[in-house]
Each structure stands twice: as structure tokens, then as C-alpha cells.
Amino acid sequence: MRKFTKYWAIFKIQLINSLAYPAELFWRSIIVVLFLWVFAQLWKLPFAGTESGVIAGLTYADTLWYLMLTEAIELSRTRLIRNISEAVKDGSVAYLLNKPYDFLLYQLSTSLGETFFRWLLTTLLGGAMAWLLVGPPPDPRGWPLVLVAILGSWVLNFCMSALIGLLAFVTEEVAPFEWVYQKMIFILGGMLIPLDFFPAWLQNLARCLPFAYQTYGPARLFVDPSLERFAALMLGQFTWIAGLSLLLALAYNRGLRRLAINGG
């Protein structure tokens, strides 16, 4: 347990650091208001065309609250891929090897510390906007479950981002992988559109992939909380985190073997 206290300390330092530039934090977060306003304009049209006001089990209000949470999760992401790939490319990863901590756990701690307040502020601003547009949020009794799911989403994102960042060991440029990963979250992760609105075959495909467990899962749980949904989400997140962690450890150790250190 003592081993993890240093990572807790790193997390706390990063948490405080993230408040050092409140203006930057604000400008990054306020964008959610704009996005939600545009989404509100877009989604009110399909719902206005239905008699029941329900599409694939979601109302207009559900959809807006769903999109608020997916946006908050996406907008609070850090530059993790770039940080890791830069550390690999400029060789600074080598200087971290003799430090008394694990490089990947260090990155996880800083990433979570950096994410938290970004997410909180984005959620507060987005929540205020969504409330203004479509009324009160979904049942608050489901919120604790959603928080656990969001934490799982962050860890899952870390595993995938770190894997992409470590690609710098083998390829000169990782930015294209980062862009495509982000767009996969947008579409197959259900960030821009709930998976429920997809054609059946694409829904089935998306539900098998890790992207949906990062945004769709927590946001769908938020608008329609239930223990069954939570259990299925936890199982999916845990399975993907376990598999990707294994792959990540493997990729990191293989990458280190390729590392060439010149001078110092």
C-alpha cells in the first residue's frame, strides 16, 4: 500500500497544478456551452418530427444530458499521447528510468490529476447549459454509479492513449493515430451521437469495442441509471482495462529494449 502513496502524492500535486492557470481552464471548459447549444439546435428537429418525442428509448432531454456528459469526458482529456510520445522521441523517458517510480503509473497519476478539475468545471458549465435548455438532470441517485464509471473511463482512456504514445518507439509520427483514436471516440464511442441511433449492425460492432465504454457507457448510465447497466459497464471496462494493461506493459518493456541513450 505504501508503494502507492507516492502516486497519490503525484496525483495531488497535479490536481493543484491544474488550478494554477484558471483562465486557461475556463476557456477550455466553456466551449461545452457552445457545443451544447449547437447540439440543441440539431437534435430538436428529429425529436420534433416524432409523435411520442422518443427515439430509440431516449427523449430530447435525455439526449442533451447524454451529450453533456460525453462532451465533458472528452473535453477533459489531457495531452497524454503527446506527452508520452515526446518523452520517447526526445529521450527524456531514459532519464525517468532511474527515478524511484514506474513511468506508466507516474503518467497515470499526472493524467488523472490534470483531468479532474477540467472535467468538474466542464460538467458544471455544461450542466448549467443543459438545465437551461431542457430542464433538470436525470435521477441523482444514479450519480455515484456514474462517477465510478467515469473513473473507469479515464483509466481505459489512459491505457489506449499510452499505447498510442508508446508507438513513438517504432514510428516517427504518432499524431495521425491520435486523431483517428479521437474520431473513433466521437463516432464509435457515441460522443457525438448515442449508439442507440445507429443501425443495428453498427451498434453491435461499437458495443464490442473499447471506445463505447469510455463515453457511451457512462453517459447512457447517467440518463437511465440501473444496476444491470452499471454491472454490464463495469464488466466491459474491467475486461478492456485488464487486457490493455497487459498489452501496455508488454509494449513498454519491449520499447525500453529498443531505447538507445546517447550521452547525458
Partner: protein, 276 residues
């Protein structure tokens, strides 16, 4: 006493020619420098094409399920996405520093450009080329070709619309980043403005009415980057061309004015030696 020479080229034309030659030389250097990392350059370009294609799947799914948005269909989205992506890409590839101007101003890195006998703003924004911009530009053309509006004269209008939209977009970026002269560092605000411009440009203009539509033509002139050039590409009209040209010209004038007004407040970072 000067003699009258009827064939003598006016001084202002000579000046423009000289600056254009300079601009071409800067772009040539940028391309040569990007080619030093050829694999990364090609990867960024292809990656950006793929990135845009994956993003566009959203609209394919949306229109497959809901058919139209107040008269806008998938073909219209292909068209507007084509114009906006190409305009964005052209701006990123040719005037890449327009995206980093706040940082350049805040860190005192304008010193380098101030010390040279060339137009400061032009030199600064053209001094960086973002390789992925070429991917956006190419994707825009592919999107236009897929839109179903493709004809030979339409393609001419597409290129004309892209150039004017690029001019409007770059000018807008310069204006918001130039606020750094007054605010200290406007990078966060400029990021918000960039997101607003691109988001509004990439959504059907028919979604917005009244006051919000007014904003799209004024404060966040996204209509000049998406809807208006797309309308011009669909069918030629002097009205659309006039609005587009006038809008782009006004924004360019405003960008030059705001930047040079701000420049009076600039404090040197003594960074000449770093850049040379």
C-alpha cells in the same frame, strides 16, 4: 523633372509583386523543410484525410436515420464540409502561424520578424506550414467530388470559394490571436474562437435562425467559411460572390488594422538571437 512613361508599372503593383515573390519564397522554404521529414509529412497528410473521413461518418449516420435538416441533405453536408475543410487546410498549410500568433506575441518572438525589412504580419503568419493542412485541403476536394455537385465550372467556383473562405478564416484567426496585445495571452480565447468558427461552419446553416444567424455572419463569421461559399459553388450568383468577397476583404482589413494597432503595445522579448 520626371518624364511621362505610359508603360511604366504603377508603384503599388510593383510592391505587391515584390511581396508575392517573397511569399512564394517563404512557402517554398516551408515545403522544403517539411520534405526533410518526408515520412512524417506523408503520415500527417494521410492521417488527416482518414481523420476527416471518420468524423464525417457522423453525418452519414445522422442523415441515414433522419433524412434531412430543414432541407439540407447529406449531399449538402459533403459540399459544405468540402469547402470548409479545404479552406481550413489551405490556411493551416500556407499561414500556419495564424494558429500560434498569441504564443508568438506573448513570448516576444515577434522580435525576429520586426528586425527584418518585410511586412511583419505576412512574414509571421506565413513562416510556418502545418503539414496536416494539406490532408484537410485534399479531403475537402474529395468531399466536393463526392457531393454530387461536381461540374467543371463548379470546380472553378469551389476553388474560388475555398480561397476566399481561407482568407476570411485566416483573418479571423489573426484578429482573435491579436487580442493578446491587450489581454496578455489570448491563446485560450483564440482556441474557443477557433472551435466556434469550425463547429458553426461544419453544421447545416439552416439550423440557425434570427440572432444566431446574424452572429454567423458577424462576430463568428463561420458562414463565410462554410454556408456562403457552398451556396456559391452550388450555383453561380453575383450576390453570393459579392458577399463572400466583401466579407473576406473586410475581415482582412480588420485583421491588418487590429494587428498593427496591437503592435504599438508590443514589448520586446529580446529574442532576436534565439530565432536567428
Amino acid at each position: 523633372m520626371n518624364e511621362y512613361h505610359p508603360t511604366r508599372t504603377p508603384a503599388w503593383i510593383l510592391l505587391i509583386m515584390r511581396e508575392l515573390k517573397f511569399l512564394l519564397a517563404v512557402w517554398k522554404t516551408n515545403i522544403a523543410s517539411a520534405m526533410e521529414y518526408r515520412a512524417a509529412f506523408i503520415a500527417q497528410m494521410l492521417g488527416m484525410i482518414l481523420n476527416n473521413a471518420v468524423y464525417f461518418i457522423f453525418w452519414v449516420i445522422f442523415f441515414d436515420r433522419f433524412r434531412d435538416v430543414r432541407g439540407w441533405e447529406l449531399s449538402d453536408m459533403f459540399l459544405v464540409f468540402g469547402v470548409a475543410a479545404s479552406a481550413f487546410g489551405l490556411a493551416a498549410f500556407l499561414f500556419g502561424n495564424a494558429f500560434y500568433l498569441s504564443e508568438i506575441i506573448a513570448r516576444g518572438r515577434l522580435d525576429y520578424y520586426l528586425s527584418l525589412p518585410r511586412p511583419i504580419l505576412l512574414h509571421t503568419v506565413a513562416s510556418r506550414s502545418i503539414s496536416s493542412g494539406l490532408g484537410d485541403f485534399t479531403y475537402g476536394i474529395l468531399s466536393y467530388l463526392a457531393s454530387g455537385y461536381c461540374t467543371w465550372d463548379g470546380f472553378g467556383r469551389f476553388l474560388c470559394g475555398v480561397v476566399l473562405a481561407c482568407m476570411a478564416f485566416t483573418s479571423f484567426m489573426i484578429i482573435v490571436h491579436s487580442l493578446t496585445f491587450w489581454l496578455g495571452n489570448a491563446a485560450g480565447f483564440a482556441g474557443l474562437a477557433l472551435n466556434a468558427m469550425v463547429t458553426f461552419a461544419l453544421y447545416p446553416v439552416t439550423l440557425f435562425e434570427g440572432f444566431s444567424k446574424l452572429i454567423l455572419f458577424t462576430i463568428v463569421p463561420a458562414a463565410l467559411m462554410g454556408a456562403l461559399p457552398a451556396e456559391f459553388v452550388r450555383a453561380f450568383s453575383w450576390g453570393a460572390l459579392g458577399k463572400l468577397f466583401l466579407g473576406a476583404l473586410l475581415l482582412l482589413g480588420l485583421a491588418v488594422l487590429v494587428f498593427h494597432r496591437g503592435l504599438r503595445r508590443y514589448e520586446s522579448g529580446s529574442a532576436i538571437q534565439v530565432e536567428v
